[in-house]
């Protein structure tokens, strides 16, 4: 359609383009520039070229942030997929009970990460937490959920799965409800039992839903920050040092703007690629 006046589209788009450029594009270039300097915000900058990147690599900080984030994401994504699917299968029925349970599981989606992190910190408290007491009452060995380097990262992952399982469930439910009942009837007529019907009808039809949940939760886990900041502050011994927390720590605690900017650039590229991949897979297609 032709615009009513020649300048019309530009005016309509101006605020949006302005804000997006200012707050999304420009920062990327600012970060790229800052990553070539060493600056502590108090004294003048010094040019260091690619030293920040090199040091991040040599000191193992980059690899550690990446590896931790990858491990965390792997657990969260698999957990969200499996749990979401199981919950969807379980609760895909009519009735007030099922609706109520669906609601409570999904409600974790609207609660703040801060609230979830604090709540679980309390429940996992080494002495007074409910989880600890239950574990001890059951005679199982006591674990230091947030203070043991071998366990802490997975504790965070489990907390995250608790929060996003409801979201995953909703996506799978929508996918399930899209499957025409006729397909099940046809399979049943062919003599397929319940398991067979699941494998031949349900499973393939849920492919897109699963892919959507997987990519969304992957991107979300890569952006995880709140749980780390509140529950473990990157510790113990950097076991829960996720990417975004590493950036935060570099600038706000170590006051190394250059280092933080270098991490930002690398992180931006990483997440951008992941999100671009998702966009290609789902361009224009709704899930439901």
């Amino acid at each position: 359609m032709k615009p009513a006046r020649p300048h019309e589209p530009y005016l309509l788009l101006l605020p949006t383009v302005l804000l997006l450029t200012l707050f999304f594009l420009v920062p990327f270039f600012v970060a790229a520039k800052e990553s070539l300097y060493s600056w502590d915000l108090l004294t003048p900058r010094t040019y260091v070229g690619l030293a920040n990147y090199r040091l991040l690599w040599e000191r193992g900080e980059l690899w550690r942030a990446f590896r931790n984030t990858l491990a965390y994401s792997a657990v969260v994504v698999s957990g969200a997929l499996v749990l979401g699917l199981l919950l969807a299968l379980l609760l895909d029925r009519k009735g007030r009970l099922a609706a109520f349970v669906r609601g409570t599981v999904f409600s974790a989606y609207v609660v703040s990460w801060v609230a979830v992190a604090l709540l679980f910190m309390w429940m996992l408290d080494g002495e007074a937490g409910v989880v600890t007491r239950v574990v001890v009452a059951l005679g199982l060995p006591k674990k230091n959920w947030l203070g043991d380097p071998a366990v802490a990262l997975y504790t965070l992952a489990v907390v995250s799965i608790w929060k996003i399982a409801g979201y995953s469930m909703i996506v799978f439910l929508a996918g399930l409800q899209d499957i025409p009942p006729v397909l099940y009837e046809a399979a049943a007529l062919d003599g397929a039992g319940r398991i067979m019907r699941f494998r031949s009808v349900t499973w393939p039809a849920l492919g897109p839903s699963a892919a959507f949940v997987a990519t969304t939760s992957l991107i979300l886990s890569f952006q995880a920050f709140d749980v780390v900041r509140i529950m473990t502050q990157g510790g113990p011994v950097h076991a829960t040092q996720l990417f975004v927390y590493a950036i935060y720590e570099q600038i706000f605690l170590n006051l190394r703007v250059g280092r933080a900017s270098a991490l930002t650039v690398l992180f931006g590229v990483l997440v951008f690629s992941l999100a671009a991949l998702q966009l290609r897979l789902f361009r224009g297609r709704g899930v439901a």
Partner: protein, 421 residues
Amino acid sequence: MSSRVSRRSVLSASLASALGACDARLAGGGERAALWYSYGGKNREVLERLLARFHRDPQRPRIDATFQGDYFESLAKVRTAIAAGAAPALTHVVAEVVPYLAEAGALEPLDRYEGAADLDLVPGIAQSGTYLGGAERPLVAVPFNRSVPVMYVNKVMLERAGVGIPQNWAELRAGANALTLRRGTEVAVWGFECPVSWWFWVALLASAGGKVVDASGEVTLGGDAGVRALDLWQTLIHRDRVMRPPLGRDYNAWQVTTQDFLSGRAAILWSSAAFLRYIEESARFPVTVAPLPRDVRHAVPTGGTLFVILRAAEEREKRAAWQFLRWMTEREQTTEWSTSTGYLPATRAAVHELTRTGYYDAHPSDKVVLGELDAIEPWPWSPTLFRVQREIMDPLLENAVLEGTDAARALEKGRREALLP
């Protein structure tokens, strides 16, 4: 204009005024200064009480006090706020970071303010005694809540085990071994608990005769003394298994160890004089306070924070901040602060007053803390001290103690890291 648009403009106008009300930079007229502080709990109560008292006189400026999290969080915010042009006038920072801030030009020199020359501060915890050569430099920091590391013991447990209060490292080890009670594979009572952190490591190191940074400015991490300090912990945690392995970072570790002591799960606790009141009031058993067991010398680092005024703030705010600061160093306030919290009194007048009125006789624990003033180990005036603490030593200690790596090797690695930019 359609009516929807004009409705929108009314809406946006009222939102704009709400925005203005929410804009935190709108300072009222009159003298004001922002104070950023980092206590919670009891210390916060006392600070608020003192602030209220300061504000009772309407001639005095208003001090807007904001809680900013723990020391390190608050410090981070201060530094970024300076860069962002949103610096408060007054805040308090740990002793280790003052040289860095001073050398970076972030701190307001205080000598030119009225009354700066006659503050009558206790040298050991004022700038002059806290830093090597502190008296020769322009005054930039005034003691606020100053502490020393001390040892808290559960006297009942010690008596039951026939253990005396440890005076040196060997006695500490023996005592911790005797006091640890095991139930099967679990430990019911730990003989000894101490937050594995920079401060206590420096305390051990100083007692062993070492210095973190030597006279030429090289970061030696205490040399052999530093190794022995770390090795003591390794021994107690991994070989003897009488010291609880570290949990959590920063103040999580302090909370846990304090709670353990209070609930009778630890017989000996190393902590700060800062928790004296809290521990005495919360414990259900008699608590005895003693100096840390020593190695070859009696030396303790200072802890806690000092007030600083930030150069980036406006002149008016800085003047207001100074007024408050000066008021806080008056005898009445320093006395109250010390007796209410357990921190050391900042002025000599306060010490005299408390001695004269028999306070220290009635409070032997405070007397022990006061006695440590004779053994203050000054910090080097080194701008890299804070980085060494946060970026090198804290992770190094946490790592080495958790994994049980060889102390000498860990510190060697730390020394090499200190050389990197």
